[in-house]
């Protein structure tokens, strides 16, 4: 049985793991479905906009393992003093582990067009920055004439990289325009939008539409469990990081305190997990 399992090896999860290690925790594991630590901001590492994050995740050395390619697919919360049970889907096996304390640091995804009910055709070429960035990293340009609509530094960082790759990029944030219709039967060919200042209808033509607004907390594995989430599926916590279930905590962009830019994921670990750190300190005794 583990003393602590951290779900998510992103910004919050790794920060929490380091802190736990500082406090002397040894019987722990960090679990992440990706093939290395870094979470959803991984594609942006090395870019100037994500300098701080890149530094945070360089040279991670922990006294306990990070299981990669491992995803939590089930949680059975232990009643009273019983440990919590987690089912982890790994490459070779589905493993059941038990832990006294569970920290959910599973992050969040960019919320795509469909979740916002943006009307129009459903062509290819419409994607979130996360998808576009990863295609770029694989040596594939999503398109040539790009419209990027979004508020986050991921959008801005992607736009720079697209321009570097020779794309023509038009950029807006979600306050400036309201997307009203997507055109294109197999590939996107254009977007109609309303300028929120003038309320005029405008039209953009191109082959790629990068869109995201708000975020989706990655809490799918909590469906059907007693851990309470809000209407946006974020894990509800108090200011010390406790969920409604004893010995289950949450931190970062999977909670309502996180933000779409993932810009406070690290400091939330330091400032809003007092309940967990208190427990970790008393483990030493």
């Amino acid at each position: 049985m583990f003393d602590l399992v951290i779900v998510g090896a992103g910004l919050s999860g790794i920060r929490a793991a380091k802190k736990a290690a500082e406090l002397g925790v040894k019987n722990a594991v960090v679990v992440d479905y990706l093939d290395k630590a870094g979470g959803f901001t991984l594609p942006y590492f090395g870019t100037p906009e994500f300098d701080q994050e890149t530094k945070q995740l360089e040279n991670i050395s922990l006294p306990f393992p990070i299981w990669t390619k491992s995803m939590v697919v089930g949680l059975f919360a232990g009643e009273e003093d019983q440990p919590h049970q987690l089912y982890i889907q790994k490459s070779d096996v589905t493993e059941m582990i038990e832990t006294r304390h569970l920290l959910i640091a599973s992050g969040s995804l960019e919320k795509p067009r469909e979740a916002h009910r943006v009307p129009g055709e459903r062509p290819s070429g419409v994607m979130t920055p996360y998808l576009a960035m990863r295609l770029l990293l694989k040596g594939e340009v999503p398109g040539k004439r790009v419209l990027s609509v979004g508020d986050t530094r991921m959008h801005r960082c992607l736009e720079e990289r697209l321009i570097d790759s020779g794309c023509e990029v038009t950029s807006f944030n979600n306050k400036e325009i309201d997307v009203s219709h997507i055109l294109g039967s197999s590939r996107v060919s254009g977007v109609q939008y309303i300028d929120t200042k003038t309320m005029e209808q405008n039209s953009w033509e191109g082959d790629t539409f990068i869109f995201s607004k708000d975020r989706i907390p990655c809490t799918f594995f909590l469906k059907g469990t007693p851990v309470e989430r809000d209407r946006k599926h974020a894990v509800i916590i108090d200011s010390d990081g406790r969920t409604n279930i004893p010995r289950i905590y949450a931190v970062g962009s999977c909670t309502p305190y996180g933000d779409d830019n993932h810009s406070n994921s690290i400091q939330l670990v330091d400032q809003h997990l007092a309940a967990l750190w208190k427990e970790m300190v008393s483990l030493e005794d």
């Binding site: 469909e114 979740a115 009307p119 998808l131």
Partner: protein, 478 residues
């Protein structure tokens, strides 16, 4: 362009089916049980890209079909065959039943005066239930409900699975399938046809089955047959992710134009609201609209108040093929009898697909096709294709839906699997979750490329190239 079973380069066929939707695939499955050289041609890069792609997935009993129509007859035959088909093709299927609810006295009258006798005329079991029973089985229903008509035989299934499972069984029995290539023209020759495809390919066949859905009138015209025309009628859907307290498919009392906007559980989870019914002019128009979403909200509001406001992750639109004759057209062409039509399947294609196939075979026989059952025909899909047991492939690729790499590899190993992301989506459920593929698509692309060796990938329809390698002629424009 991809092909299975053979590459249709040369040789002559006994029967060629035009159209890879649920109807065409079902017909191919039936044909493949006989000693015949048969094939199917589909214009898009995958099966199931037309009307079969975007529908409610409901297996209708036909209780409300107009008695005496070809549609009613096909549905009747299908009812007898469905239980076996589900088992043999392993179709995900939930026999949840449906209830047609009356939200006022007028609708209650219509149910009792029209639908009860209609169901009886079609031989379908139904049961009148009172308000309390209705609400007991479906607590989220509007308090205005007066009563309901339960049709226990109605069910939901996975329409993608059904479509390709028909075709997979056909392929296992030696049928050939050509994807990504469409029919351009048809010449009559002695004892059959020469069919011209895109890329100047030609195939000869003794008989043709016209199962081209929305384009079946255009195929008919290629042999000079103008006896029917198809007009598109769009239906928009909203997929709700939140839990709705219903245990059955909730049907409104229909209008003249369509079965109405319903609320239905979905085999993959979630609930479907829709469809609308809008006559459009472009057969390829699958756009969703603000007004469509409003109509869905309005239509479902009277069944389940506020349901249209719940969390949704996806909206889509399908297009029905509405026939000028008002019924299915399942008969030889009067102009060129070796072509048998399976056209005008407006609304119940999935449900009627087994019965349509049987009727088409009879029609083919009536114009001279001889049917000798194949020895050792395979009659069911084995489970062996479900998971590729490659070591170290248990990791999750689609995190919203927990779809593992081994499931995706398994899908790519199935008898027919194209090199499109939508193809993987329909076979595994990947990309159907909250993030709509924005997380898992790159990995899926890699798996498809490794498996098929194809470097350029399509998302779905021809021309819907997802991205282009940077080296190839610069930043790609599609």
């Amino acid at each position: 362009m991809q092909s299975w079973g053979g590459d249709m380069q040369r040789g002559s066929y006994d029967v060629l089916v035009i159209g890879g939707g649920v109807v065409g695939c079902s017909i191919l499955r039936e044909l493949a049980f006989y000693d015949l050289k048969v094939g199917l041609i589909e214009k898009q890069p995958d099966l199931c890209e037309g009307t079969s792609k975007a529908n409610s997935g409901i297996v209708h009993t036909g209780f409300d079909a107009k008695p005496g129509t070809v549609e009613a007859e096909c549905l009747k035959r299908s009812r007898a065959v469905w239980p076996e088909l589900i088992e043999k093709l392993r179709i995900p299927y939930i026999p949840c039943g449906a209830v047609m609810v009356a939200t006022n006295e007028e609708e209650w009258e219509i149910i009792q005066k029209k639908y009860v006798p209609n169901a009886a005329a079609n031989g379908v079991d139904v049961e009148i239930i009172d308000r309390e029973t209705c609400l007991g089985m479906n607590p989220d229903l509007s308090a205005a409900v007066v009563g309901g008509l339960v049709i226990p035989g109605e069910a939901i299934c996975d329409p993608f699975w059904a479509t390709r499972a028909h075709a997979e069984l056909a392929a296992l029995n030696g049928a050939e399938i050509l994807l990504g290539n469409g029919v351009v023209s048809i010449n009559e020759i002695e004892d059959g046809y020469r069919v011209f495809l895109e890329n100047n390919r030609q195939i000869e066949t003794r008989f043709l089955v016209n199962a081209a859905g929305l384009w079946s009138d255009e195929i008919a015209r290629m042999v000079g047959d103008t006896s029917f025309s198809i007009s598109p009628r769009k239906g928009e859907f909203l997929l709700i992710e939140e839990e709705i307290q219903i245990s059955q498919i909730i049907l409104p009392v229909p209008t003249a134009k369509s079965k109405g906007i319903l609320v239905s559980p979905v085999v993959f989870g979630g609930f479907l609201l829709g469809p609308t019914a809008e006559d459009i002019s472009d057969k390829m128009d699958r756009s969703t609209s603000r007004s469509g979403i409003e109509q869905i909200k309005e239509g479902t509001d009277k069944l389940i108040p506020g349901v249209g406001m719940r969390d949704s992750i996806r909206q889509f639109a399908g297009v029905r093929a509405v026939c000028s004759t008002g019924d299915f057209v399942i008969r030889p062409s009067k102009v060129s009898p070796n072509m048998v039509h399976a056209a005008g399947i407006r609304s119940t294609g999935l449900s009627a697909s087994p019965g349509i196939a049987l009727m088409v075979l009879e029609q083919l026989q009536s114009v001279g096709l001889e049917l000798f059952p194949k020895e050792n025909a395979i009659d069911s899909l084995e489970d062996i294709f479900d998971k590729e047991s490659v070591e170290g492939s248990g990791e999750v690729v689609c995190i919203c839906r927990s779809v593992t790499m081994s499931e995706i590899l398994g899908a790519l190993n199935r008898p027919i699997c194209p090199a499109t992301i939508d193809g993987v989506k329909r076979r595994t459920g990947a990309t159907l979750g909250e993030c709509q593929g924005n997380v898992c698509i790159p990995q899926i692309m890699e798996l498809i490329r490794d498996k098929t060796g194809q470097t350029t990938l399509f998302k779905g329809l021809q021309g819907s190239l997802l991205s282009k390698p940077m080296g190839e002629g610069g930043a790609g424009r599609v």
